[in-house]
């Protein structure tokens, strides 16, 4: 009924290629934005901000990054944890070396540093494909974590080997450190997440995004049409790593506050982000958010129900989480390889015709 596109004609190519071509979608998007920026900050508790909203936004950025690489460019990477670690340590070094730098620049610069590292590890992708590349990215994961753990310069020679985020602010508002309010952290992450989602959308609908998808779908045809495979793959690695680096930076500075590289950025992080991308939907920006929301909310819910409600031991709940995540991955790949985003799309198709499907 509400979900109508008939009569919503597009007269220019500009209108035709906008992000939300259907009016209802567009309005809903504005409403969600308004709630996220204007309503939520007044109502969320510190617990919700810290345990749900901030990790959701941070993981969403990471999932966006990985989705660009895996979903759009078709290059499977298992090195996300390592690249997030690079972002986190870059942030730490920038924060401690240049105390005057504002957080926004710190986060973006960390992203650029990670992009550079990502490009170096993306170089083999020209010669290596498929699983072989996935294993090659494992080299990035293990090598980077080892390097950040073994070279004391990266953690400023601290005795514990940990990095701790000092207090930094922007426009006089404290964003990191022990006195930062979770709500400002939430807003800071929100602005970055939305800005980056917008960038991701722009890149994927334009020339660059098409060259990524062309490489993903049929690399030989892409090359013959004029796409330089090295440039396409490296740019995908760079952009993807930029996003992942920003996520790592926020994960450390805003969410965790303190981190130890082998704990916080292990191979499990790489898999978790990959799962978000699969569950949410390969090659979908909306899906990256959905997948992140799912992977953040599910453990919280399970924990509240099983441990809080039924009084089960925590380790049992954790095992059950493994089972559920694993089963869901398999189910999704069987039922809908394009994830929740595709399910939403199918639902939309049906809604369009509802209530008269014939």
């Amino acid at each position: 009924m509400f979900y109508r596109e008939s009569g919503d004609f597009k007269k220019t190519y500009r209108d035709d290629s906008q992000t939300f071509p259907i009016k209802f979608d567009r309005r809903r998007y504005y409403v969600v934005m308004a709630i996220a920026f204007l309503v939520l900050p007044w109502f969320i508790t510190d617990y919700i901000a810290n345990a749900v909203m901030i990790p959701f936004l941070v993981w969403a950025i990471a999932a966006l990054g990985l989705n660009i690489l895996v979903g759009y460019c078709g290059q499977l990477s298992l090195g996300t944890g390592g690249f997030m670690a690079v972002g986190a340590y870059a942030t730490y070094k920038l924060m401690t070396s240049f105390p005057g730098m504002d957080m926004f620049s710190v986060v973006l610069l960390s992203g650029f540093i990670t992009a550079f590292v990502g490009m170096i590890f993306g170089l083999p992708s020209l010669r290596i494909k498929g699983f072989y590349l996935a294993v090659a990215t494992l080299a990035a994961q293990f090598f980077l974590v080892w390097l950040l753990n073994k070279v004391p310069w990266f953690y400023n020679y601290s005795a514990s080997g940990q990095i701790t985020a000092p207090e930094r602010s922007m426009f006089g508002i404290i964003i990191t450190g022990p006195y930062a309010s979770p709500v400002t952290g939430y807003l800071f992450c929100l602005i970055l997440a939305i800005g980056l989602a917008w960038v991701a959308r722009n890149l994927t609908r334009g020339r660059l995004g098409r060259s990524w998808m062309a490489i993903r779908d049929m690399d030989i045809a892409a090359e013959i049409i004029g796409v330089n495979p090295l440039m396409a793959k490296l740019s995908a690695f760079a952009v993807s790593s930029f996003f992942v680096g920003v996520a790592g930076s926020l994960f450390f500075s805003v969410y965790l506050g303190a981190a130890e590289v082998t704990e916080a950025f292990s191979i499990n992080v790489s898999f978790a982000v990959l799962f978000m991308v699969i569950i949410g939907g390969l090659g979908s920006i909306f899906g990256s958010f959905v997948g992140a929301a799912f992977m953040v909310l599910m453990p919280v819910l399970l924990k509240n129900i099983l441990v809080g409600g039924l009084g089960w031991p925590t380790d049992l709940a954790a095992h059950l989480e493994f089972i559920i995540v694993g089963a869901l991955i398999v189910i999704f790949l069987i039922v809908e390889p394009h994830g929740l985003a595709q399910m939403a799309r199918v639902l939309k198709e049906k809604l369009r015709l509802w209530p008269f499907p014939h």
């Binding site: 293990f142 049992l316 095992h319 493994f322 559920i324 694993g326 991955i329």
Partner: protein, 333 residues
């Protein structure tokens, strides 16, 4: 002989032994990949699961005891009996066959003709599932594996090699774990029997036919589903062997599933489809990482075993993308 030389020799020998262990896991990968084109990430977890099941059966644990206790508030853990190792192994093989059937029926059957990358990700999901399932079934505490394999350094070898060093050098003989020697022997037997099986039996031929071309194999009357169950059962058996060896060596615990990750670079070197490749790849990685840690590790902070295998495989692949034994890939348009 100088002591330095002997130490290096010992490092190489130990590396070879470690390599055999990697090969054992890699072998399971190769089997499944050859028969179904699936890169089975869950192979490592299968080894862990098999080892847990073996220990669980042997010590008479009640499956799902934790879950049952949590739901019904009971306090039970063991049946109170001990199962002899041999019987327990047979029962575990039974469990792995059952597992193969379940995987075929509920996963593979539904994913036929999907892209390899999707299948790969499905096995990652499977790995997570099995990990949680194994923990709920048998508990996540570290268990000791005892099926009567001798372990500890070989005194005989130590004494025998003691006299090799030049006069006056500080050398106490060579240390090689008996367990590693047994593992090597088992691996050799396993490889030989697998090769014989695939070359000289009807099932083996069918298996190779399926590996070559699913459609063609189907058309001559080979049941794809039966073959997959067989292959996954064999892989489950190989996983059990690997699980026993690794479990006896370092205890049955979560980190066991991570050896799957180590098997990946082994496969990259050896190629995904070659059984001898898996063995040689494993040996190269084993020796390589031990030697690197021995020679260069101390200079750069140690613990290089974490990443050396991957970086070696990466370097290698850039120059030879098809692996040591893979056929040269000619791209066609």
């Amino acid at each position: 002989m100088s002591a330095d030389f002997l130490y290096t020799l010992e490092v190489i020998l130990n590396g070879l032994m470690a390599g055999v262990m990697y090969s054992l896991v890699a072998l399971g990968f190769v089997l499944i990949f050859k028969a179904s084109g699936i890169f089975n990430y869950a192979q490592g977890v299968m080894a862990l699961f098999a080892a847990m099941t073996l220990v669980g059966i042997q010590t008479g644990q009640i499956p799902f005891a934790h879950l049952i206790n949590a739901i019904f508030g009971t306090e039970m853990h063991h049946f109170g009996w001990q199962v002899p190792a041999f019987l327990a192994i047979i029962l575990t093989v039974g469990v792995m066959v059952l597992f193969a059937m379940i995987v075929e029926k509920y996963i593979l059957h539904h994913l036929v003709n999907q892209e390899p990358i999707i299948l790969f990700m499905a096995t990652i999901g499977l790995a997570y599932f099995m990990e949680g399932f194994g923990d709920i079934m048998w508990g996540s505490e570290i268990k000791t594996m005892d099926v009567g394999i001798p372990s500890g350094g070989s005194l005989w070898l130590e004494e025998y090699t003691l006299g090799w060093a030049a006069e006056g050098e500080r050398y106490w003989g060579m240390y090689i774990d008996k367990l590693d020697m047994v593992a090597t022997l088992v691996a050799v037997i396993l490889v030989v029997s697998l090769t014989l099986f695939s070359q000289y039996t009807k099932t083996g031929r069918a298996l190779r036919a399926v590996a070559d071309d699913h459609q063609a194999a189907l058309s001559v009357g080979i049941s794809l589903r039966a073959i997959w169950v067989i292959v996954w059962s064999i892989a489950g058996f190989v996983a059990l062997v690997a699980g026993i060896m690794w479990g006896a060596k370092s205890g049955v615990q979560f980190s066991l599933s991570l050896i799957a990750l180590k098997a990946l670079p082994v496969l990259m070197l050896g190629g995904f489809t070659s059984i001898p490749g898996a063995i040689i790849g494993g040996l190269i990685i084993g020796v390589g990482e031990k030697l690197f840690e021995f020679a260069i590790g101390p200079m750069i902070g140690g613990a290089t075993e974490n990443w050396f295998a991957y970086v070696l495989a990466l370097m290698f692949l850039v120059f030879r993308p098809q692996g040591l034994f893979g056929e040269k890939i000619i791209e066609r348009v």
